[in-house]
Amino acid sequence: MTAEIGHFALILALLIATMQATLPLIGAHKGYGSWMATARPAAVTQFGLVAISFGCLTQLYLTSDFSVLNVVQNSHTAKPLIYKIAGVWANHEGSLLLWVLILSLFGSAVAVFGSNLPPRLRARVLSVQAMIAVGFYLFMLLTSNPFERVFPAPINGQDLNPLLQDPGLAIHPPMLYLGYVGFSMAFSFAIAALIEGRVDAAWARWVRPWTLAAWCFLTGGITLGSWWAYYELGWGGWWFWDPVENASFMPWLAGTALLHSSTVVEKRDTLKGWTILLAIITFSLSLLGTFLVRSGVLTSVHAFATDPARGVFILAFLIIVIGGSLALFAWRAPQLVSTGVFQPISREGALLLNNLIMATAAAAVLLGTLYPLLLDAIGGGKISVGPPFFNAVFIPLMVPMIAAMAVGPMLSWKRADLKPALTRLWTAALAAGAIMLAAWALFADGPVMGVLGIGLAGWLFIGTLVELGGRLQLFKVPLSDSFSRLRRTPRAAWGMTLAHLGLAITIAGMVGAGAWRTESIQAMKPGDTVTVAGYEFTFDGAKDGKGPNYSITEGTFRVFKGGKAVVTLNPEKRIYMVSKRQTTEAAIHTTFFGDLYAVVGDQDPSGAYVTRLYFNPLVAWMWGGVVIMVCAGCLSLTDRRHRIGAPAKSRAQGRVTAQTAGA
């Protein structure tokens, strides 16, 4: 019964969404208040229905109901509880259900908390949201029904891919989806604005929290995936320019650009058409990401070969959503009036440069990801586009951007002078030079790019601090004055500063882990010692054990540095009982300067084990920097300017907000 209830709730949600997609839109056009008013209850009802549906699927997984195909294919009675739950979305059908759950959640959030939105805009936004939802419901009900029954029901399931039975990867998809779907809000606002023919500072402020939240989730989601690859794949790689990764990275690049351009709309009333276009592109790339990964147009078209309906539906859906919105853009965007004027050298100019580079980067990643497909389509032969291509294109784009990132926040709006900004940055240049010299002294035999990269990170970090110091008038006015300036700095400005600092730290981590890692692969017998980057790894042998649904071989390494014990590492090799697949669980010891990383492999006939030992420098910086960036995003999200229209709190009245500061 549960499966049928879930299925029925989904059908009802489709009906409600269809109504929500049409009535409020017509109402907003014709000025029928009562028609517009249907949007809010409809959005809330829709969410309720999808929640029921999602609850049903979860229940089916929890009870291991193997009369449902989806459960059979992705679960097993012996699977731990958390992965039974994660199994709900670790597959094509279930992940779509999660997608619409989040979509309807956000929609109802607008309905419930959007009292400060003008009724017309709200009606249109909810209507556009419902249109997207209709597409997803139809796709699920017609081609990817998670509630499909199977007869006769098998005794047990086929289990979830063991690589996916991992805490990092269990929450990775929901995070990504929160990001993707968050961008759908920016998209809906953009479409509503195009219909309305009006984009202003208020619009930019309504869109900004959604974009920011989506960006935070997407950043976190991508990093979780990267972190998972780092500890799970057994050799410390964290980014592969894999199509699956690129699919989530493209909306991130476009979304980052959107985040920056929307501040220009908010503060300077210009770049409107471009910002709207970015909102459309960001969500389009999110849709592409959702579908390309799950349906496998890139990874393997076999999914389509077995079910052509899916491919055709996805293409039709993308054409309607993306093509439709771009057509609307072509028609309506020229009528958006911008009033702000600015010089090329100005804060706006710097943000525009950021946009240009980010958009080019997104386009380059898109080109590289899709090129093999496009070339094949015209019969141009099969080629591969891998990391060497992406690095060759991406790094030259990022270098000038990071260099400019330190300068941009120092420029004033409208019109600025480059010279004073650059003179203020002499400390940053000095610091960058010193860091490069130090890096060169330490890793003279390493790649030159590593030295340059770490210098760039230093330049950005110190440059951002210099900008902050300038804003606080540090050492120019009494310290207490600086302190009160610090307190008055709006949270959005703090967000910018912290995010840029976080990025600098992340870049340092990427450079370190990319350029200077040490690796040692060998066969070790118990008692053997190997030295990696000054750490002595003594292998104490391995023993077999059992996990809930897998068997383990667990190795033990005692690690010493200069005779002093540092840590004991216990890497595992797991063999999952149902699928017979093998996974590695690396043992990682994180230090400030780098990770000790040990993996144990197979035993050879002589009794020695294949071991892989690594020292991955500065890896923790990479994750730490991202955490800072996400926190910065959250901090910016709490800025009171995003809560405009909310009843003014008496406490807020007394506070001063520097309108011009921050981005």
Binding site: L233, L375, S384, L397, I644
Partner: protein, 164 residues
């Protein structure tokens, strides 16, 4: 990421996987081994998804890694080793696609996009400087409607909210 590998495994068959770069493969000469690693990183594992033979635990990847080392030991140059593999498996094995007619758009695309974007930005500034007379008439026709009372009231509220 490696999901696709399993999907492929259902269609084509390979012996059970071994682990990427095993100690028995490693050459004793570190310079030679470094060259081998560098070459391996640029060669695609054919049965995997966008993975180099250096990262892959697939059997074919292992065979190719050994071949790369054999050719190097036999005195081949890096280019000769790569050619050896390309002659058997085609350009598809190169993770960095060669620059030729078919990849012209790929290699020049990013530069073209950046250039196009730059030109668009320059045009944007030029148009700004010469005044907006060209777009003005259309803009006047579609001016947004005047603010409603409700909106005016909210602006007041906002202004009040932001005041010191």
């Amino acid at each position: 990421m490696r999901k696709a590998l399993f999907a492929l495994a259902l269609v084509f068959a390979w012996p059970p996987p071994a682990w990427a770069v095993n100690p028995d493969e490693v050459l004793s000469d570190p310079v030679m081994e470094n060259r081998a690693r560098e070459i391996s990183r640029g060669l695609r594992c054919l049965v995997c998804q966008n993975q180099s033979i250096d990262d892959s635990d697939a059997d074919l990847a292992k065979d190719l890694r050994i071949i790369v080392r054999e050719r190097l030991t036999a005195g081949d140059s890096d280019a000769q080793v790569v050619d050896f593999v390309v002659s058997r498996y085609g350009d598809y094995v190169l993770l960095k696609p060669p620059f030729k007619l078919a990849t012209l758009v790929l290699w020049l695309g990013p530069a073209a996009i950046a250039g196009g974007g730059l030109i668009a930005v320059l045009m944007f500034f030029r148009r700004r400087r010469t005044g907006e007379s060209a777009v003005q008439p259309a803009a006047v026709l579609t001016r947004p409607p005047p603010l409603s009372d409700e909106e005016n009231r909210r602006i007041e509220e906002l202004l009040k909210d932001d005041a010191p």
